[in-house]
């Protein structure tokens, strides 16, 4: 049992000896590709917006996607969830298209830990910002210290505050590691299966592509869903208490 050094292990797996992804410039090229595809699709969808009903298929698809994200936001965050739709939809589109790139190209931005950590930092920073905007600066940070227990038990409040801070930091780690592990794990599994059958010239890894497509959708969904849940945890409002409370309690239990 050597020393359990998580940080070194993470850095080693992200950049060290076993590194197989693109370098910084290569990652930028892939991100450019993703952004280009995203803006191209959306510009193409925007062309069909002027008619009374949408005749262009791509506009209809984007409408379906919008309705899906709207359901997600309203269902999880509650009645005030509509204003978070642009952010959640951006996360979904960026992650989904990045994941899709991995099916056609050797690697993808989301198969790189640094890109995922950047996404997770943006997500959690946005959650903190929204929490501070909803409850006020002091109210948001006091929320971490737990319930009021009186002056005799203030040590428990201090400990709770520390634990909650660590938990907030760990949200970054869990969001980025989940995405990275799933996408990069899919690549490695496909590579291993292709190598297994390389003597017979059968690309067995190609049979994993449908499962990888499923992973692409689910991981994009889970990232947006967890961002929604985190937002709903910090933006408690008193209006709509009756029907909102049940859903967020259930999600908090799962969290």
């Amino acid at each position: 049992m050597a020393d359990l050094n998580l940080y070194q292990s993470l850095v080693a797996s992200a950049e060290g000896g076993g590194h197989h992804g693109p370098n910084f410039l290569g990652l930028m090229v892939y991100i450019l590709l993703v952004v280009g595809v995203m803006f191209g699709l959306m510009a193409s969808a925007k062309k069909g917006l002027n008619s009374r009903f949408f005749t262009r298929p791509i506009t209809q698809k984007f409408e379906q996607l919008y309705l899906f994200i709207e359901n997600l936001c309203i269902g999880i965050i509650g009645s005030h969830g509509a204003r978070y739709i642009p952010m959640i939809m951006t996360f979904w589109l960026v992650i989904f298209i990045s994941n899709l790139v991995a099916l056609f190209f050797p690697t993808s931005p989301t198969a790189d830990l640094s890109f995922n950590l950047g996404l997770a930092l943006i997500s959690i920073a946005y959650v903190q910002y929204e929490g501070m905007r909803a409850n006020g600066f002091v109210g948001h940070w006091r929320h971490f210290a737990g319930p009021k227990l009186g002056p005799a038990l203030i040590i428990i409040n201090i400990m709770l505050f520390g634990i909650e801070l660590v938990s907030e930091m760990m949200k970054n780690l869990s969001l980025s590691l989940r995405l990275y592990g799933n996408i990069d794990g899919g690549h490695r599994a496909a590579d291993a299966m292709t190598q297994l059958s390389s003597d017979y010239y059968i690309p067995l890894g190609a049979f994993l592509l449908p499962i990888k497509l499923l992973t692409c959708v689910v991981q994009a969904l889970i990232f947006s869903l967890l961002t929604c849940v985190y937002i709903s945890l910090v933006t408690h409002h008193d209006e709509g208490h009756a029907d909102d409370q049940h859903g967020s309690d259930e999600l908090a239990a799962a969290h």
């Binding site: 049992m1 998580l6 592990g181 999600l251 799962a254």
Partner: protein, 67 residues
């Protein structure tokens, strides 16, 4: 040793995922009108179970020294 550790972790996570799918499907078939809510909660639980295995993948090499 490392592969054994990863295998044990994978087995546990597979049991957990199976339980989530089992109970999710059961709940959905008993109450089809709650499918949307059930799916959301199921996906969240799935994500948290999966994270356990990913953490194992990252931490196990460090604690076993890569052997």
């Amino acid at each position: 040793m490392l592969s054994l550790a990863l295998g044990i972790a994978a087995a546990g996570v597979a049991i957990g995922l199976g339980l989530i799918g089992y109970s999710g499907l059961q709940g959905m078939s008993r109450q089809p009108e709650a499918i949307g809510k059930l799916q959301t909660a199921m996906l969240i639980a799935l994500a948290f179970v999966e994270l356990v295995f990913l953490l194992t993948v990252f931490i196990a090499p460090a604690s076993f020294g890569g052997k």
